[in-house]
């Protein structure tokens, strides 16, 4: 098993009502699967919200396998400015 931390921002934080969530996952779990879990947890509140994935504070364009200790964020549309 691996342990990863999901940081929650903006609409993800609002949907889950959490700043971060710790997950214990099987080896080989991908960012895609984790995103599905997050969307399930949000009970529809993230439907239609595009999420980009950041692993260890870098955008990751393709799905990857997670490693123990990774910090993941599912980034809703950003709004700087």
């Amino acid at each position: 098993m691996i342990t990863v931390k999901v940081k929650c921002f903006s609409q993800v934080k609002y949907a889950l009502n959490k700043d971060e969530v710790i997950f214990e996952l099987d080896h080989g779990t991908t960012t895609d699967s984790l995103e599905s879990m997050i969307r399930d947890n949000a009970k529809g509140k993230l439907d239609g919200v595009r999420l980009r994935v950041a692993v260890n504070r870098k955008y990751i364009p393709e799905k990857i396998e997670l490693k123990d200790g990774d910090e993941i964020a599912f980034i809703p549309p950003v709004q700087g400015g």
Binding site: F9, S10, A15, A54, R57, A73, P77, Q79, G80
Partner: protein, 137 residues
């Protein structure tokens, strides 16, 4: 040269610089919090950022901008935390030899910033509720 800052609290603006004898154009953008968001009255905004990623993305974007456009320097400050209506949340200054490249670089930099830098707005509404500004909920 580039400089980027993420600041919790009011901004000091960068100073106009008369020692720049090679830079014919100095362009300043100030983004200010308006009193409505998507038509709803707000009392103020709170900017949330991904600590550890927002500044790095902003710096990377500034570097890309000075490589992509023939400009000399780009400095940028972005506020986080509570920002009152009318206050400046984003402050950018670009120095270039001619105006055109400065205007093009400014336009591109802001568009990309709004596309990639992990910063978000929470609106504090008149009833006191706190919502992500583009959340339909």
């Amino acid at each position: 040269m580039v400089k980027v800052e993420i600041i919790n609290g009011p901004l000091d603006l960068y100073l106009t610089d008369n020692n720049r004898t090679q830079d014919g154009a100095e362009l300043v953008f100030n983004g200010r919090v308006r009193d409505t968001e998507h038509g709803n009255k707000i009392t103020y905004l709170e900017y949330e950022h991904y600590d550890g990623m927002a500044k790095a993305e902003l710096l990377q974007l500034a570097d890309k901008t000075v490589k992509k456009f023939p400009i000399n320097d780009l400095f940028c400050k972005h506020r986080i935390g509570k920002v009152n209506i009318g206050e400046i949340s984003l402050h950018i200054i670009i120095w270039s030899k001619h105006r055109k490249e400065g205007l093009d670089a400014m336009s591109w930099f802001i568009s990309e910033l709004k596309n990639s830098v992990p910063i978000w707005k929470w609106a504090i509404l008149e009833d006191g509720s706190r919502v992500p500004t583009e959340c339909k909920d």
